[in-house]
């Protein structure tokens, strides 16, 4: 009995179920959106390069568009659930704030020198907070600029805010690049601190001793 209680107190809940489920649905949706988006980009590149065929989804333009416009519903619906939960439950307020530029700068510097401590998995350091907020903002900008590209007539007011149809294409590309960069850093960080990976499935982590 005592041992069981002690065993239980060894663990702490760090990721609520909603966050875990929406995280993995989001990861799947982002993977489809990015790889099918590269396929669409390749049909008429904005810049003097194409993405290698092997990392694009859909086979050709029509397939890429089918994937992109199917997964967009998953991305948006899942994103809305996540945002609503994060705001209403106080998850964002608790996990992402307070955040100061000084703390972000210090933590990023420490991380680059390989000295950033992440012992207590229930707390995000400032670099993580900045990265997770940035990725949410990227996704919001991607959805808005995507809507402007999809509906430059019906949503011309939105498109106008982003520099019209051609402006929205560039905003969409830049937000995608930033998002892919943050995701890559995120994956490298998980590889460096691998005990964070199972927590995104189980929701639990061992208390720091």
């Amino acid at each position: 009995m005592e041992a069981a209680e002690q065993g239980r107190s060894d663990w702490m809940k760090i990721h609520p179920l909603v966050v875990r489920v929406t995280h993995w649905i989001n990861a799947f949706a982002i993977l489809i959106m990015v790889t099918s988006g590269w396929q669409i980009y390749n049909a008429s590149p904005l810049f003097p390069f194409r993405f290698p065929r092997e990392i694009t989804l859909g086979g050709w333009l029509a397939g890429g568009i089918q994937w992109h416009f199917a997964a967009m519903w998953l991305l948006v619906m899942n994103g809305l659930v996540y945002l609503a939960y994060g705001i209403v439950s106080g998850h964002f307020r608790r996990k992402f704030f307070p955040i100061t530029p000084g703390a972000i700068f210090r933590d990023v510097k420490d991380a680059l020198r390989g000295k950033l401590a992440h012992d207590d998995l229930s707390m995000y350091n400032a670099a993580q907070r900045a990265a997770y907020i940035a990725i949410i903002l990227c996704a919001v900008v991607l959805v808005l600029s995507g809507m402007a590209i999809w509906k430059p007539v019906q949503m011309q007011e939105l498109a106008g805010l982003l520099g019209g149809y051609e402006g929205a294409r560039r905003v969409h590309f830049i937000a995608m690049s930033l998002l892919v960069f943050i995701v890559l850093v995120h994956i490298v960080m998980v590889a460096l601190v691998p005990r964070t990976l199972p927590t995104m499935f189980t929701g639990r982590a061992r208390r720091p001793s």
Binding site: L31, T35, I40, Y41, A43, S44, L46, E54, I55, L57, G58, G59, L61, A62, G63, I65, Q66, W67, F69, A70, W73, K151, P152, V153, Q154, Q156, G164, Y165, E166, R169, P194, L197, P198, F201
Partner: protein, 252 residues
Amino acid sequence: MKKRTMESSLAEHSPRLIRSIERRLFLRQGLSLGALAMLSGCNPTDDEGVQKLLTGMSRWNDRAQAWLFNPNKLAPEYPESAITTPFPFNAFYGQDEVPIVDGKGYKLELAGMIREKKPWTLPELYALPQTSQITRHICVEGWSAIGKWSGVRFSDFLARVGADTTAKYVGFKCSDDYSSSIDMATALHPQTLLTFRYADQILPPEYGFPMKLRVPTKLGFKNPKHIMSMFVTNEYPGGYWEDQGYNWYSGS
């Protein structure tokens, strides 16, 4: 020697840790298998079940776009100075294969749910009230270009020939074996024009002589050129690109 040390050090750890490592390895292998399937030549788009799902989503997107379509919302119009020159040539073939249509013998054929199916000659069409627009042509590939087209408002033409505007679709057949179709709400949009001129000149062959349907609320491939006949129908007509997987509605 080194291997031995590793084995003994592993054995010192609890079985729980080893199980947890195994679980982690399994997970990692599972994830990389999924990633590999996506990245390698094995294309999930070709899978029959996946293709069914994607086609179903495309039909759903047709309905979503019809619902989003506001018949009173006008596509932005631009000054002459914004026109893209030269306006890009685009077709499913090269510029040297552009069909040459004989304007003298030409007659536009009408079919389907239309009261007066008398074919129209070019002089008859040119004599109808004409209007112009400078709008952005957006290609499904992503690029866009601004051009000036002139012709008869398509809703006026449909009214003149007694088309049943309660029908669902208007379809087009072209001299280059191209075809496309649009929904009736878009056909009746005030900026949908049956055009005979580009930049105030009679349409040159590469821009669709003798006529091009200009639909600034849809992607470029929904703007058929070299139109030979049109029909009004309730049966889904599809189209050249639509039948190959491009989204049918493709509204802007």
